[in-house]
């Protein structure tokens, strides 16, 4: 068991009585907008704390863990990829530097780019990339961090469906090799159907739920 949520209430957005998320699996979160999908990922990443209830990560209460160390194991990719001025290589290394990990050599960086099917040189500028390319660069950066859990907030929303499927299949294959767990928000029915081993469909919380 990776996560266990009990009686979670959060800002009138989330109302979860009981939810478990298994280790080593791809779990897709779908549902109408405003249903609290991003809020749920943020709670799991500990960017926010629930108003009440408990979240357990590997049977440990989330509150009892160091938030920064937790995020290095359970890492979230924000919806808008953040790309800094500089080369693709600098952007890839930045994730490692930010989290105080050792830098990787060029072969590993190129392999990550290949996994997300971004055909660019490491020396190319990152700022001129298209929206979809930036998303893939951010995915490659995350892949290099090798967290235990990948929390992905619509990681390929800017890609066309065909590319999205190709990129995510390769990405998930790579994560599975490392025995990683993925919790991913997606609006693509097809992507969810193909990749998800477990689906969570979220609905807007009603006022009388509180």
């Amino acid at each position: 068991m990776m996560f266990r949520l009990e009686k979670i209430r959060y800002k009138g957005i989330l109302h979860i009585d009981n939810l478990t998320i298994s280790a080593g699996m791809v779990t897709c979160l779908t549902g109408e907008s405003g249903a609290g999908k991003t809020s749920l990922l943020r709670l799991l990443n500990r960017m926010d704390d629930p108003d009440s209830g408990s979240i357990f990560y590997q049977d440990q209460l989330l509150e009892s863990l160091n938030p920064i160390e937790h995020r290095r194991k359970v890492t979230m990719l924000s919806q808008t990829p953040f790309i800094l001025p500089g080369t693709i290589e600098e952007n890839l290394q930045m994730g490692l530097e930010l989290t105080e990990r050792e830098k990787k050599d060029e072969t590993e960086l190129e392999k990550a780019l290949e996994t997300v099917q971004l055909q660019k040189a490491l020396t190319d500028g990152a700022e001129n990339l298209s929206g979809g390319e930036k998303q893939r660069l951010a995915l490659a950066r995350l892949l290099l961090l090798k967290p235990e859990v990948y929390l992905l907030d619509e990681p390929t929303a800017a890609l066309d469906e065909e590319t999205e499927l190709k990129v995510m299949s390769r990405f998930l294959e790579e994560v599975k090799l490392e025995k990683g767990t993925v919790i991913m928000i997606t609006h693509s029915r097809q992507l969810a159907d193909i990749c998800a081993e477990k689906m969570i469909i979220m609905k807007k919380a009603k006022e009388d739920d509180y």
């Binding site: 920064i68 995020r71 924000s78 990829p81």
Partner: protein, 261 residues
């Protein structure tokens, strides 16, 4: 009217200086800029505050006492803290306010005592003729520095919220996630002092030096004081701003390393 080498401005001539304010009022009225109230308020406050300062300083100079010098210094520090809070156009949380107070009470004081004891070296240490004007320059410039640092730090973090959060989500420490904005805030706070030093003596002659020259002191002595005080100001601004920034960036985060603004 001349006495001790300095012209005492006659009362009506001093009043004539207010013509400039009248000119400014006419201009803003003509251009439709609604600043009349502020101009009048600023002029009245400046006049009243300086008259009061004149009397208070005369009294303190004639009756030098350590408590009086320290009291004046405290009043300056409190007024500058109040001014910082007023100049920032958003509500500050308690933690940030506390950091402003702490840094304004320690940075300028440390710089002031070092400057007075080591650089100028006057006795007794509380001699108000030196102590008060120097304290004014050091505290005043630290105030400007902290205001700029606070505004830039706040704006930098608020307008880059998404980026800061994206870094936190990956597992960056708050310190690392805001490093860029902290550095930029420090830079913006120290830059005016550095620019001031660059133009010094060519583009402008600073108030203290002008005052000394007008009161008959040799420009060579006046520049000694000016060089010393400029470096003192730079030291005070950098020390206070560094202290403020190092303490205050944490105030933008909760204890669980989440953004709290």
């Amino acid at each position: 009217m001349e006495g001790n080498g300095i012209i005492d401005i006659e009362f009506w001539r001093l009043c004539a200086a207010y013509v400039f304010v009248v000119v400014l009022l006419i201009i803003v009225k003509w251009r439709g800029i609604s600043r009349e109230k502020q101009i009048i308020l600023a002029t009245v406050r400046m006049t009243v505050q300086l008259i009061l300062a004149g009397y208070v300083l005369t009294y303190i100079f004639e009756n030098p006492h350590p408590l009086l010098s320290l009291g004046f210094l405290c009043a300056m520090a409190l007024f500058s803290i109040h001014n910082i809070f007023k100049q920032v156009p958003y509500t500050l949380n308690k933690k940030i306010k506390r950091m402003v107070i702490l840094s304004m009470l320690t940075g300028p004081m440390a710089a002031l005592f070092y400057f007075n004891v080591v650089v100028i070296h006057f006795t007794p240490w509380y001699e108000p003729r030196y102590f008060i004007p120097i304290a004014g320059m050091i505290v005043g410039n630290a105030m400007t520095g902290v205001t700029l640092a606070l505004k830039n730090l706040h704006d930098g973090i608020c307008s880059n919220r998404e980026k800061v959060e994206a870094m936190l989500m990956l597992g960056a420490t708050p310190k690392r996630a805001v490093k860029k904005y902290v550095d930029a805030a420090f830079d913006s706070a120290v830059l005016p002092t550095l620019n001031n030093m660059l133009g010094m003596g060519i583009i402008f002659l600073p108030g203290m030096m002008t005052g000394q020259i007008m009161s008959g002191i040799s420009p060579l002595i006046a520049i000694e004081y000016q060089i010393a005080i400029l470096i003192g100001i730079l030291g005070s601004v950098s020390l206070t701003v560094v202290l403020f920034i190092m303490l205050s960036f944490r105030a933008f985060f909760t204890k669980n390393a989440q953004l709290s603004i």
